[in-house]
Symmetry: C2
Subunit: 499 residues, 2 copies
């Protein structure tokens, strides 16, 4: 794959040497843990998107904020790029290192600073695992709502950087809707507090700007999140359909009926079969699609809502509807969905996970379009996704050992994202742009918008030292991508400014 | 009052003449309605904050987006500042005109473009009145949640520009939480779409950045908002307290009990008495404070929640608790709250309405602090506010005809806001910074943060032509304000950059 980070930092880098940087950091921050030998750097060469690998120049693993501040100040002074990494579970290569950059690993900041059950907030260091927040809040009857699939491992700092989602986001919002305050260090090592525990904040909304900024604006050092009361009860319905389009339409019908489910997930035949083979959840393997609809809240409401949803599903043509009779069966219903990705991994040597979003009403049409792309390319595509909020996760199955299949999978993936954009959606719902979707950003945004993004970035980091080459493509890249598609390092329009 | 807009545009302005600008605009946009005679300009000299008045150079009242685009392109070319105005109901002087600037009045864009009951969205021109959205959605059983007191008159474009709040924002969020997509024109006349009807959007969160940006980043031309289902039932409890602190503490206790009321409002004795004299709502005039707590949702829940809240209020020391028995009594309970501002206007020649926010747990302490400031200054202060989300609206009563009282009121207001900031809150919850709180921004933010705000502004509008002198103070102003307090035009630190 083409690795073109240099386009973003080209010319901005001072002519530093690795040995000099190492010596400088060892001298400036004597206690800072620094890795510099190839065998020590190797474990950090990729994040959850293992298809992209780059050995970092150096890895820094600070234990305290003083070390982070010194590191940033020195890198700023020396002109050395910094890529921040949390738990490294990201799926878009946002924490992919730079050959000529420091990888700042924040995983040691694991302290839960405070749980305030009255204000219903948790204050956390950035390395605290997502699930650990809900575990710490559970004794107070509270939990943290956003629940990415990686919640057992991913950290809250990374969740903010990627504006992570999850099954519960339909009802409870993305990370941005659940974060109240963030402390950051700028590339210059200056501390800033964004947002407040109080409502709103004057000035521009820097807190929202940081959510999903993919490590390009600053380093997150502390986070206050909202906690929600655990629902009194949760019930799950599983509906089978003999047609993917009918299932897609049922999704919109449920929302239109005035129900906001705690989760509303869809799986198609290939995903159902793979999951059933793997976890034996009792899924209907002959169905073309299933919907899993979780309703949570107070018992009386949930029962009412179950009746309403059942009626909507029947009208939409569901061939079978089952209600989980107890907590154990509910867990079984969910087990297939939660293990769908590894299950698909068992039936194909490789798969490529997409993350497009679309308006709900476009689900039937886009699902059809994906099926057509699958037929055309000969690559199987499994669909398993957050249907309720139109966040699709098509899994493109391929074999990297077969000549040209990786490129074909990437091409199909790109086309699926373009389909999402054309339907009024976007190229990423919860996985971020990172390194992976940098080219698709050019189909989502025009040159004026890309230029504006760069200007915003420059307001925080004029030297472009924080995570360069991710999230926002250069105009040169877009010109190139638009003119010649990927895999070509020649500039189509060298006269365009190289941000 | 000191009017120092020029600080913000000083040096940036080309040496234009009013007559030349008028002639240019008449020529470029022959159909554009332009006002230029003093008697025509007079009605636009202030917004809802009538204490500040400036006659605009010109007023433009476009009927279509082509006219807006041409106007912006010409003003950009000529270096003429543009202040955008919606319905003119803002309370912080955000739409205060410039002596040497065009006032762009968007009030003619009143079309409801689309109500989509399935997607639960409304697409609107910016001049659509807030209440008109809910009226148009009502036939589908839907409504638009944010409900500023001015909702009968204020427009959705202004709501976005100020990130407006209201009674329902505790449960349903501010404007930013209810807007999905905004179309804008930049100062260069370029069209951009921010956000999407689909979940999330890649790149930086420009939609959130526009919410509350007070007309400094672009002109809003179209808006898609979320609609919510009308609750099945709403009930209101009114609780009396013999002590303001006890009422303040009860607010936190209700939230801590796991209840998110549809509205949770507080009034102190002075506000209660003024309201009762005015609307005869049956308020307990001997009480030191009342809480109005509205619970909405499904009947069974609402009844449960009413019982829970009643228990919490009793434990918190409420001396009397009344439940509105029917819709008519509910309307009566609310009538006092909704008319509290004009009611206070009846007992004082002038009042100054503040808009600070604080973390809920700080309510008792800050209410005490306000009482002390009132005693010290001799000015009466009435408190009537969104207690649930810690958004305070102290009304400082004064008589502008008495020598020095306006300045004293402003001073007390400034101290109250500083109290809010010191308690971990902010200087504005829903009214915006505008012209009014520009000095207090210097106590909320440090020089690095202010510099960052200017850099963000410059990413959209490098010539600083859009609403200069509002929202974000210059560093020179902050140096001056910090060193010498208000009302002094001399620069304390002339060497500081003049953004």
């Amino acid at each position: 794959m083409d690795i073109l980070y240099d386009e973003a930092i080209d010319g901005a880098l001072a002519p530093f040497e690795k040995a000099d940087v190492l010596r400088d950091l060892q001298h400036s921050a004597p206690t800072l843990r620094l890795l510099h030998r190839e065998e020590d750097l190797r474990p950090f060469e990729c994040d959850g998107l293992a298809a992209y690998r780059v050995l970092p120049m150096l890895v820094a693993m600070p234990d305290n904020l003083d070390e982070v501040e010194i590191l940033l100040k020195r890198c700023h002074a020396l002109g050395v790029p910094v890529v921040t990494r949390g738990a490294g579970t990201g799926l878009s290569g946002g924490a992919l290192p730079l050959e000529r950059g420091v990888l700042l690993v924040m995983s040691r900041f694991q302290q839960i600073i405070n749980i305030d059950p009255d204000a219903r907030t948790a204050t956390l260091q950035p390395g605290v695992r997502n699930l650990a927040i809900s575990e710490a809040a559970a004794p107070y009857g509270l939990y943290y709502a956003p629940d990415p699939s990686s919640q057992i491992a991913c950290s809250i700092g990374g969740n903010v950087a990627e504006n992570a989602g999850g099954v519960h986001c339909l009802k409870y919002g993305l990370t941005v809707n659940n974060v109240m305050r963030v402390d950051v260090l700028t590339i210059e090592g200056e501390a800033m507090t964004l947002g407040a525990e109080a409502l709103d904040a004057p000035g521009f909304d820097l807190l929202a700007l940081f959510n999903g900024s993919e490590g390009m604006l600053g380093v997150i050092t502390e986070i206050t999140v909202k906690l929600l009361p655990l629902p009194e009860v949760a019930k799950v319905l599983m509906a089978s359909f003999d047609d993917v389009e009918k299932a897609g339409k049922a999704v919109g019908d449920i929302i239109a009926a005035g129900i906001i489910p705690g989760g509303l997930e869809m799986m198609d035949k290939l995903a159902i079969q793979a999951a059933e083979d793997f976890v034996h959840a009792g899924y209907p393997v002959e169905a073309e699609a299933i919907l899993l609809c979780e309703l949570d809240g107070v018992l009386a409401d949930v029962d009412d809502d179950c009746d309403t949803v059942r009626g909507v599903l029947e009208n939409a043509g569901a061939t079978d509807i089952r209600l989980a009779r107890n907590a154990a069966e509910r867990a079984v219903f969910w087990s297939g969905r939660k293990n769908a990705f590894p299950a698909v991994g068992r039936i194909s040597p490789d798969y490529y996970c997409m993350d497009g979003t679309i308006p709900r009403r476009e689900l039937p049409r886009v699902l059809n379009g994906i099926a057509e792309l699958s037929r055309e390319s000969g690559l199987r595509v499994a669909n398993v996704f957050h249907a309720g909020d139109g966040n699709m996760h098509p899994l493109i199955l391929f074999d990297a050992n077969r000549e040209g299949e990786l490129a074909l999978a990437e091409d199909v993936g790109g086309r699926i994202l373009e389909l999402c954009v054309a339907a009024g959606g976007s190229i990423t719902g919860e996985h971020g742009v990172g390194r992976e979707k940098i080219n698709q950003m050019c189909s989502q945004f025009d040159a004026d918008e890309i230029t504006l993004f760069h200007a915003l970035k420059a307001a925080f980091d004029p030297q472009r030292l924080l995570n360069p080459g991710k999230n926002i493509p250069t105009l040169a890249r877009c010109a190139e991508f638009g003119a010649m598609h990927v895999h070509n390092n020649e500039l189509a329009h060298p006269e365009l400014p190289r941000f």
